[in-house]
């Protein structure tokens, strides 16, 4: 009989190893699933986990996809450490895309061509504000009405999706677009500057890494970051210390909403360059998984973002090369998170064999 015994001190070693164990277990289950579907498990794993890194172009695609994941997940980490369960990052991403894209669209349709150094920050700032505004609704309802931020932020995702559809099918539709639900393509002045020629990779990745460093400093070296963490770990201690729960709530949601909005704007000013109904492919939800796999830590988040974008691209490759449905990626991601949570038990508990009691 196995028994769980509490450790006196949480195990640092396990905190680092647990995601790796979960990854290995996921890979094993993936291999089993491939076999069950009649595909060669080795080939399946290679396509999902190794092909995406095959060559400069492939790596640039991985980093391109990782950029918004890093950005969103960093904001979510602040929230989750503060025990603010912002599940609606997807909605904040959409509003950021709408706001940033709206700025770009306005500049384009008005024929205003600004230097890149002005236009791009304008677009990104629009995105940040859009995401913050959407998150502010959740913050207000939690602060004033005590409404669950989980349910409110989630409901707002569905509202945001309808809002995107409304705008793109309606007032913002490109009149010269053959009635397709899409906006005009944005003027080149609003596009994010590229980082590597012959790839789609843009400066966003550099921006994301800068934000990661800034987040580390904020969480671990500032008093405000300390307050947020105490609020998440022991609310009674936070009250005892005199930390304002309201201030922490707003800080966490504004940071998170702003970063999610930034990610949304980077997507439309980067690879997409217009607004369509498909501007976000569940990035806001994938970022939640990235956040946990990355241990809610900036460095872990960067690594986990790379891992999960590999899986996303692997899914696309799996569809084109092996005929596996793209939805498989979603299964693996969900599985990874569930296994991670299970393995995390080992951080706080040791597994022991229970002794048989002599009768």
């Amino acid at each position: 009989m196995l028994r769980l015994e509490a450790r006196p001190q949480p195990s640092q070693a396990m905190a680092l190893v647990s995601p790796l164990i979960a990854l290995v277990l996921t890979a094993l289950m993936a291999a089993a699933l491939f076999a069950a579907l009649g595909k060669d498990p080795g080939r399946g794993l290679a396509v999902f986990f190794f092909e995406p890194l095959n060559g400069m172009r492939a790596v640039s695609e991985v980093l391109l996809k990782a950029t918004p994941l890093i950005t969103i997940a960093l904001g979510l980490a602040v929230c989750y450490r503060s025990n603010v369960w912002n599940i609606g990052a997807e909605g904040q991403v959409l509003l950021g895309a709408l706001a940033g894209g709206g700025v770009a669209l306005w500049l384009t349709t008005q024929g205003i061509v600004l230097p890149k150094a002005v236009a791009v920050p304008l677009v990104l700032a629009g995105g940040v504000l859009g995401g913050m505004a959407w998150a502010a609704i959740t913050a207000l309802l939690r602060d004033r009405f005590n409404a669950s931020e989980i349910l409110v932020s989630l409901m707002l995702v569905y509202v945001a999706q309808q809002l995107v559809n409304f705008l793109v099918f309606g007032p913002w539709k490109d009149p010269a677009g053959f009635n397709f639900p899409q906006t005009k393509t944005f003027d080149a002045s609003t596009w994010l500057p590229p980082l590597l020629s012959n790839t789609r990779l843009h400066v966003g990745i550099a921006l994301a890494l800068v934000v990661a460093a800034a987040m580390w400093v904020f969480m671990f070296r500032t008093y405000r970051g300390y307050q947020l963490q105490v609020g998440g770990l022991a609310p009674a201690a936070a009250r005892y210390a005199g930390f304002s729960a309201s201030a922490s709530l707003w800080t966490a949601l504004m940071i998170s909403g702003g970063l999610a909005g930034l990610a949304g704007a980077m997507e439309v000013a980067g690879p997409l360059r217009q607004l369509t109904p498909h501007i976000s492919t569940g990035l806001g939800f994938t970022a939640i998984i990235v956040c946990f796999v990355g241990r809610l830590h900036p460095l872990g988040i960067v690594l986990a973002s790379v891992l999960l974008s590999m899986m996303l691209i692997g899914g696309e490759l799996g569809q084109s090369r092996l005929g596996l449905p793209n939805a498989l990626t979603g299964v693996f991601q969900g599985l990874l998170l569930i296994l991670l949570l299970a393995c995390d038990t080992l951080i706080h508990y040791r597994v022991r064999l229970a002794r048989r009691i002599p009768a």
Partner: protein, 305 residues
């Protein structure tokens, strides 16, 4: 007049899956476990039910498949949060994300497929009453079973000893443990029962209500059902009432479109979600009221000494 009768009928049908899921989650939460995986469970059960109905042509088997799928996924969730004491919020979320991906994956082969036609249901004699007939008595049996279920749960929770034990465990699991009750097993039973009910709700959606399968068919109803339990202050009959209310709001968008109201369809489609937000805000406003009715141990981990 006939339109109103049809609206009432549509409201009842639309509210039924919400009520089923809401009642299932109520059982969960009365025992102290918060299951954010409801959406994922409903999705997996929806595809399971659809697949069963498509293959066998039987509604009953579809519901059974849905209940089984829901119960199994809920059992996995229960194992994690009750025995390994993983964070209830994160685990529930993980189950929802997994359920979304898994149902999309399994459902790939069922998109666009049609189920065999089934004959419309009618309660004999009562269905012929003008207005009340079409409004109340021409529903699928599951609609009536749901109401009966709500009453049964009321009896169970407030008139039976087993229900008292469940409520006690949700209130103070440490005390129940000290008295010798097997807290973890009771909680698991509540979670599995709740999951099975969510499963039946999911199957109802894909097999009776829609009836079809697309990725993400459940469209947030799992989350709305979670809001329902708070809205109903954890009382079964209020869950039923709230479900019909939300069902009604969902139907409102079609009624308004039909009445020629000149608002874009996407904006009308926001109505159920906006309504949920408003209701949540109004109900949660009084923290004291919530605290009296909420099972005190909801969401908190339990460690047997």
């Amino acid at each position: 007049m006939n339109e109103i009768a049809l609206l009432v009928a549509a409201t009842l049908a639309s509210g039924t899956p919400l009520a089923l899921a809401g009642l299932g989650l109520l059982l969960n939460e009365k025992a102290g476990v918060l299951n954010l995986g409801a959406e994922g469970i409903m999705l997996v059960a929806a595809i399971a039910g659809f697949a069963a109905a498509f293959t066998t042509g039987s509604d009953t088997l579809a519901f059974a498949a849905g209940a089984l799928a829901g119960g199994l996924l809920a059992a996995a969730f229960g194992g994690l949060v009750i025995w390994l004491n993983t964070n209830q919020y994160a685990t529930g979320l993980a189950v929802s994300l997994f359920g979304y991906g898994f149902s999309a994956f399994v459902g790939v082969g069922y998109v666009g497929k049609k189920l065999a036609e089934s004959s419309p249901f009618e309660v004999p004699l009562l269905a012929d009453i003008p207005f009340l007939g079409p409004a109340l008595f021409k529903h699928h049996p599951m609609v009536y079973l749901t109401i009966a279920l709500a009453l049964a749960i009321v009896w169970f929770l407030y008139r039976s000893r087993a229900g008292l034990v469940l409520r006690a465990i949700g209130e103070a699991p440490e005390s129940a443990h000290a008295l010798g009750y097997r807290v973890r097993w009771v909680r698991l039973a509540a979670v599995v029962a709740g999951g099975a009910l969510c499963g039946v709700a999911g199957a109802f959606l894909s097999v009776v209500y829609a009836p079809l399968w697309v990725e993400g068919l459940v469209a947030g109803r799992g989350w709305i059902a979670l809001a329902l339990t708070t809205f109903a202050t954890w009382r079964p009959l209020r869950v039923l009432l709230g479900a019909y209310l939300f069902g009604g709001v969902t139907m409102l968008q079609f009624a308004l479109q039909g009445a020629g109201v000149n608002v874009a369809s996407q904006l009308l489609a926001m109505l159920p979600y906006l309504a949920t937000i408003v209701v949540l805000a109004l109900i949660s406003r009084n923290p004291a009221w919530i605290r009296i009715n909420m099972p005190a141990s909801l969401g908190k981990p339990f460690h047997p000494g």
